[in-house]
Symmetry: C2
Subunit: 223 residues, 2 copies
DNA sequence: CAGTTGAAGAGAGTGACATTCTCGCTTCTC
DNA sequence: GAGAAGCGAGAATGTCACTCTCTTCAACTG
């Protein structure tokens, strides 16, 4: 806003001074936002569910209700922010795993397996510093219903990455797909909801592993 | 309950008499329950969402709050009942479609395609007498989180049917799977959540059709 | 330095719900 | 016809998200 208001023929020092105070204001604001996010993450980790109240977040973050609604339009916006944060972390992990492979099919495989493990962290022990992702995964189902566009936007980088891997594998001739975009959608859905579907299976021995899910996808992609 | 309480050496007429009044009581109760269900279905159809209040159901069904809580433990139980009802209808439709085919692979295909269409009725025009299933499908996501066992139980007949079809196709040699149970889980998940994943795709032209989803599964099953 | 302004905290107030409770009014039953 | 069981009407309660008001305090301004 101040940036937009800054006149082009203002002396440079003034622009710099303004932007410095703006930067300060922004970083102060970001820190405040971060405190809300941290408090919410803590609550989720402790409760193992997203059923916290705003009041709890306020108390925990030692801030005011008024402040909360100044930064977030409502509880959904807060949870959406948590979700975006989580997906960003996941993306980093997945990209790191993918980059460690060079063979196109291996890259695709590691993407699928890592994504599966990320969505359902019950199997893999929780890394230090990372959060109770299961609760967030679960809540993301509700978000996908009520805020499909926001969830889609948050997942877009992952979708793009996957499409790229599929195109690369297709070019290398190790899979054969007609339409990379659709193939990517199918793989993403199959992997991401496989953990969710597991809870609808009665016999625990029949729960699907990341590896099995990937095998299914691999064949689906016509090796 | 009356049947269980009926003593074996009671005179038969008495058993019959008791069971008659019990039958009457039961059918009266069932009718009352049904009125709640009908009212809720109407509200869902009108609103296109499951965000109705209990009060609305009460008003619509011309019954009392007290009566509602006499028959249902809470709102979730009501929605669960709606879900079960819907799944039952779906099961009937799907079984009918499957029975019209004789080739094992064709039977499997029609199962997948019909299930997909049923979950995402946005594409196919709504049949007379059937309900706004999309809203219920959406809500079933939340149910699956909070009442996984109930949802699993409701879907069990469908799962069993699918497994049977997969075993039959495997026996006939038109597909090859190691473990029918897991294969069934994979197909069911892929098909049932494919409609859900569609909303996370930005370009509407990339939305997956039932046929594409089935093709993916078919290859995944190793034709 | 005194006055002004704007950011931020404390917390009371509102409204929407689900759920429970209480009080009668019927309608069987003996 | 008294008593009980069933049930409708709707007031009362509790929990939330969210809004509003009042106050405080610290940074600018002249």
């Amino acid at each position: 806003m101040a940036g937009a208001a800054a006149d082009a023929n203002e002396p440079a020092w003034r622009t710099r001074a303004v932007s410095r105070t703006m930067d300060a204001a922004r970083s102060r604001a970001e820190e405040r936002v971060q405190r809300f996010l941290d408090a919410a993450f803590e609550l989720i980790d402790e409760k193992g569910s997203t059923e916290f109240t705003i009041q709890e977040v306020i108390d925990r973050s030692k801030q005011s209700l008024r402040g909360f609604y100044e930064y977030f339009d409502g509880k959904d916006e807060l949870v959406l922010a948590l979700f975006e944060e989580t997906v960003r972390e996941a993306g980093d992990d997945i990209r790191a795993a993918v980059d460690a492979e060079s063979d196109p099919l291996a890259r695709l495989r590691i993407f699928a397996v890592t994504l599966h493990e990320w969505c359902d962290p019950a199997e893999t022990p929780r890394k230090r510093g990372s959060h109770q992702r299961r609760a967030i995964s679960e809540f993301s189902m509700r978000l996908a219903v009520n805020h499909a566009d926001r969830v889609r936007a948050a997942l877009a980088p992952l979708s793009r990455e996957l499409r790229g891997l599929i195109e690369a594998a297709d070019d290398a001739g190790v899979i054969h797909v007609d339409d990379a975009r659709r193939a990517a959608a199918l793989v993403q859905q199959t992997v991401m909801y496989s953990w969710f579907g597991n809870r609808l299976v009665d016999d625990p021995r029949s729960r699907l592993t990341p590896e099995e899910t990937w095998e299914f996808c691999r064949r689906g992609l016509g090796v």
